[in-house]
Assembly symmetry: C2
């Protein structure tokens, strides 16, 4: 009997690295995580990673054959197989293909986490059967992955899909990237908190959030307050949705996607965020695109999305190699 083909999906984050074995149908057969240890040398990290991955594989009852490795990581370059100046990690430049090549002889692919999330949705989630869609991850920042003509868009240098760094206002909020007014300084968990502070200053809206310091505020606190009808919290979500909607209309004008799919922590807020987003987007859409673009939620939220996305990345590469459509 042939062994079950699986891939190793790895999501390298600033604090933890999640990984697991994913079959062609998107079942995660086993998964776990280790601390990334942002201060340790990359070589040490990858050694630890492979040791843990090895014992995880041995724990799977079914006999498996490792077909490839997919990695999602911040500032990952798909073409070069590297991680370059990742935020929250001390590694300046890591040749991931070479590091992993010490231990594995199977095909390996790496891309940023939002691109991996897009492939995860295409293979196993809300974008199954779609050829043109955008995935937006709303977490601490705003990540995005773009699929057009059934292919993930990497662009000329492997870094396409940075919708979080499109410009809302050239004189707006300072972004971690150094620019002013990037979308992610408004539409993200931290952006939402910044909006609460701005509204605390500019408006007279009453709010329980006025009792929290800037350092204490979290998107979860804002969400809970909004659920209780807190006027300032509700306005903060409205404002966030209005801005996000305007910029998504720009994305639609570029790409004419069938759907925009949201994942990440802030997406859990649901209608309280996406109703104003949808209304604003529709108002700003070029007429031929109106009422055609679906706003959807990730279908992988409960299913280890980061590991499934990383797994989808390498399944995508393997399918192209063997000509499977």
């Amino acid at each position: 009997m042939p062994k079950l083909q699986v891939v190793l999906g790895i999501d390298i984050g600033g604090t933890n690295t999640k990984f697991g074995y994913v079959d062609r149908e998107g079942h995660c057969l086993a998964g776990t995580s280790i601390q990334t240890g942002a201060d340790q040398p990359a070589q040490q990290f990858f050694n630890q990673l492979q040791e843990n991955a090895k014992s995880l594989l041995e724990n799977i009852e079914e006999e498996c054959e490792l077909a490839g490795i997919g990695i999602g990581a911040p500032n990952a370059n798909y073409y070069k197989g590297t991680i370059e100046n990742p935020p929250n990690l001390k590694w300046e430049y890591v040749d991931v293909k070479a590091e992993m090549g010490r231990y594995y002889k199977v095909p390996l692919a790496i891309t940023n986490d939002a691109n991996a999330a897009a492939l995860g949705e295409m293979f196993f989630g809300a974008a199954r059967g779609m050829k043109d869609f955008i995935v937006i991850t709303l977490g601490t920042g705003l990540g995005s992955g773009i699929v057009a003509n059934g292919e993930l868009i990497y662009g000329a240098d492997g870094f396409a899909g940075e919708i979080g760094h499109t410009i809302v206002d050239p004189n707006g909020r300072r972004c971690g990237c150094g620019k002013l007014g990037c979308l992610e300084t408004y539409a993200s968990a931290t952006g939402l908190c910044r909006t609460v502070l701005e509204l605390s200053c500019h408006s007279n809206l009453p709010s329980e959030l006025r009792y929290f310091s800037a350092a204490e505020l979290t998107s979860e606190l804002v969400y809970q307050a909004a659920l209780r009808g807190d006027p300032l919290a509700c306005e903060a979500f409205d404002f966030t949705g209005r801005i996000l909607g305007v910029k998504l209309a720009d994305s639609v004008a570029h790409l004419s996607p069938e759907a925009i799919i949201f994942s990440g922590g802030l997406a859990e807020a649901g209608d309280i965020l996406f109703k104003p987003t949808h209304k604003s987007m529709e108002e700003q859409l070029f007429p031929i695109f109106r009422n055609r673009v679906k706003l959807l939620r990730s279908e992988l939220t409960q299913r280890n999305p980061a590991v499934l996305g990383a797994g989808a990345l390498i399944w995508d590469v393997l399918q192209k190699k063997d000509g499977t459509p």
Copy 2:
């Protein structure tokens, strides 16, 4: 001796329709134009078109075989082979494939003029060898065609690439599409004239352009004034470039193109427009994209670009069919 394979490239404009026979290397063997006659029924127009195309073909000395027909037209739908509510034309909905099918049995493809321009640059012009680029046509409006992974992006409904209708300011200038603040109300020949009027109102800059009425102003007048150092005309170009640069930075954040290529009448302005555009774009780029994206001029300007673009459209389809890379 085998006949020379040619395609018929057709560019349907509001006033004139240009067409010609284009070989695989991008030579236009014969070309001419007829009046579109925007008031006449579409059926009559297509009959007249094929009669003229037939006699044009007979005038070519070399024996040719017609391999296909490519058409660039406003509001053309690539997937359906139709033109829908074209601006400046009285045809509400024309099934172009059916109309042309009365006379021709060869493959036919249709898309909007900016998409055709992008394929023209990829096959025969400034984008030869590129897999990721954007073409911006600066005329009365602002059109765009996007190529990623070596494929033109049509999107889910065939209408992708409407960068002219991305939003500069949700409370900005009224656009022909009904929205407010679209890029093409700023960055286009008409946008430039509107900026002159705005500056005439808001600034005290001296200018010879203050002696022209709104109805008399043309982008050519503004260009000639700027060449003479007219302060208001120069500021109008600077303002146009600054706005265009900010929005192009957004396009780069989506697509990470190798180059952005400009064609159309206003692109003839050259450095006077593209210097401020480039400066503004670089300032607004996400750091990893800086100094990587080339701003280029069309290489087809002197070579019947609309007809070459329409020809490239159908050569693209034919190459995919026969598997030629």
